[in-house]
């Protein structure tokens, strides 16, 4: 773009700004009730979303509670430097990344598979009953689900009762490191798999039935119809959900881990969020734990950006 056009452009946009300002004032006068309505919402978002977001700057400070984040001394990247040389953080990061990876590998595809299986059920009553049962655990809290898991896997719990029946020795599942991550993934699937199918089932319903009819005429069986029609047409939905997931890659959910963790399993199960809670909220290391939180967000955003670029190559990105 030439310099001249640029100039004209700027002048023009300034004039437009003024015009817009006048229009805005008139708009507010005319629809003042709408503006009044949204005030509580704006106040809410500023106080509880934007101020904490801006408050993340304490990751670059030596935050002192009585000085607030305006007067606390700046320390640059010191908190981050400290973190990367800190043994505890390595362990916590490794646990978080591993559990996140397992969840991505097993928990993410689970509702897709379940939705495809649901789709093969012709008996409508049966399908509805199944769905009701599968959706139920989503509505239970992690405290309750954690309680259930502990009870079922306890020494005198039902799982060990079943093991005993086939002559196996009881296992203290919740106290042993080897089982922790498996338990996290399975309990996560148990709680959310049904709920996760809703959106995929909606995507399947939206598929034009004439595609299947054409495929049947061409002699495609159910498996081929699934492979070549259902799955490809679910792909946009899968991609979007994958991207939304990857953006929160390291955010595993505090409630689940906190309610499954015992001191015996810290070495494999202590994740960023549980660590931040203990070191930050309970011990007051505010700046350091905010640095961890920020690091977590940056990784999430970077992953989202990378995978969105990849997805865009097949024209299915989020933006």
């Amino acid at each position: 773009m030439g310099g001249k056009t640029q100039q004209v452009f700027t002048q023009r946009s300034k004039a437009l700004d003024r015009l817009n300002q006048n229009r805005l004032i008139r708009n507010i006068r005319k629809h003042w009730m709408l503006y009044l309505m949204i005030v509580p919402g704006i106040v809410y978002y500023i106080i509880f979303k934007y101020i904490p977001l801006l408050g993340s700057v304490i990751a670059f400070q030596d935050f002192q509670i009585f000085k607030g984040f305006l007067d606390s001394p700046w320390v640059g990247l010191d908190n981050f430097k400290f973190l990367f040389n800190y043994q505890d953080f390595h362990e916590v990061l490794r646990n978080t990344a591993l559990i996140a990876l397992y969840q991505l590998l097993f928990q993410f595809p689970a509702p897709i598979i379940l939705a495809l299986l649901f789709n093969e059920i012709r008996l409508l009553v049966f399908k509805r009953t199944l769905q009701s049962l599968f959706y139920l655990p989503h509505f239970l809290s992690w405290v309750v689900v954690g309680g259930i898991v502990f009870e079922l896997l306890a020494q005198e719990g039902i799982i060990n009762a079943l093991r005993e029946m086939v002559g196996l020795a009881p296992i203290l599942f919740m106290q042993e490191e080897a089982y922790f991550r498996t338990i996290v993934v399975i309990s996560g699937i148990w709680k959310e798999v049904g709920w996760g199918t809703i959106i995929y089932l909606a995507a399947i319903t939206a598929i034009n039935p004439s595609l299947y009819e054409a495929a049947v005429i061409d002699g495609a069986n159910r498996l081929k119809q699934t492979m070549y029609i259902t799955l490809p047409l679910m792909l946009p939905t899968i991609t979007v959900l994958f991207l939304l997931n990857i953006g929160n890659f390291l955010e595993l959910g505090f409630d689940q881990i906190y309610n499954l963790l015992t001191p015996m399993t810290y070495s494999v199960g202590d994740i960023i969020e549980t660590y931040v809670y203990r070191a930050g909220v309970l011990q007051g290391q505010y700046s350091l734990t905010t640095a961890i939180g920020l690091f977590q967000s940056v990784i999430g955003f970077a992953l989202l950006w990378i995978f969105n670029r990849l997805a865009r190559k097949s024209e299915q990105g989020l933006w």
Partner: protein
């Protein structure tokens, strides 16, 4: 349509596998229900599966007399009722202007709100902000910091945008102002979507845990989930009696099972009634813009 043998086998297998998996969704709860009505000896000797063994009400009698549990129960009822109503009011008030074409700041405000979905504030600055606001050790800390769920707000906004414009014109001719338009026309037409987000909010408040962990140090304010957690981690608190003193017809195993059922029953009770609404909501709120 003709089915091959393979397809028939798959069909049968599919029905069987799904039925089995579906039963694992409810079986743990039925098992714990059975445990809560069994004698402690039967429960601990692994005899109880889905039917109570040595049936007794002792566990439930003890649980239902636990005043601390009831206190937490009523706190949860309070935050569920008051929180859901406030949340719905705030959500609707925010969603309505954002659904109106004549509202000039619609796009920038919507963008600013969606950004908060992508960039979540880290836990600590959020914690410090809520503390600065003065909500530490107040049950309002369970309501106000999570007042509007952006997800739910987007559901309502999408629904409002789908209501035909002709209604507005008719209303305007009748001299209807925008508050009345929202409360007397739009909300009347939005009952299904309001039921959906009401359900989402209510379940969220009923299951409130993390905010209680963060903001409530005073145990007398704890909501139900927090109390359950305390019972699970400090079993003696749950029993609240000296178990060595005599023979009781309950122990921590049966008590824990009963408290889990206690916290779950209200959800299971409203579940079938509200089920018809939430599926629609889950799809609506997902990705539409």
């Amino acid at each position: 349509m003709k089915q091959t043998l393979g397809e028939k086998c798959f069909q049968i297998l599919n029905y069987a596998v799904l039925a089995l998996l579906a039963s694992t969704m409810i079986a743990p709860l039925l098992h714990l229900l059975a445990v809560s009505f069994s004698s402690p000896i039967a429960a601990d000797s692994k005899k109880v599966f889905l039917i109570p063994v040595e049936f007794t009400f002792a566990t439930w009698e003890h649980i239902l007399q636990n005043e601390v549990l009831w206190r937490s129960f009523w706190i949860t009822v309070f935050i569920t009722v008051v929180g859901t109503l406030l949340s719905m009011l705030f959500t609707v008030l925010t969603a309505f202007p954002l659904s109106r074409k004549e509202f000039m700041l619609r796009k920038p405000i919507m963008l600013a709100i969606v950004i908060t979905m992508i960039f979540n504030a880290p836990m600590i600055p959020f914690f410090l902000t809520v503390r600065e606001v003065g909500l530490m050790d107040s049950i309002w800390a369970l309501i106000i910091p999570g007042l509007i769920s952006t997800f739910n707000m987007v559901i309502v906004r999408t629904f409002f945008m789908g209501i035909p414009d002709d209604l507005d014109d008719a209303a305007r001719i009748d001299g209807c102002n925008e508050f009345r338009l929202l409360f007397q026309i739009y909300l009347q037409l939005s009952k299904p979507v309001l039921a959906t987000i009401g359900l989402f909010y209510a379940v969220g408040y009923w299951n409130t845990f993390k905010t209680a962990v963060l903001f409530l140090r005073d145990p007398s304010l704890w909501p139900l989930q927090m109390r359950l957690r305390a019972f699970f981690t400090a079993e003696e608190e749950l029993a609240a009696v000296d178990l060595i003193m005599g023979d009781f017809d309950f122990n921590t195993t049966t008590l824990k099972a009963a408290t889990i059922i206690f916290a779950t029953v209200p959800i299971v009770l409203v579940y079938p009634y509200l089920q018809k609404y939430f599926v629609k909501g889950a799809v609506l709120g997902s990705l539409k813009e």
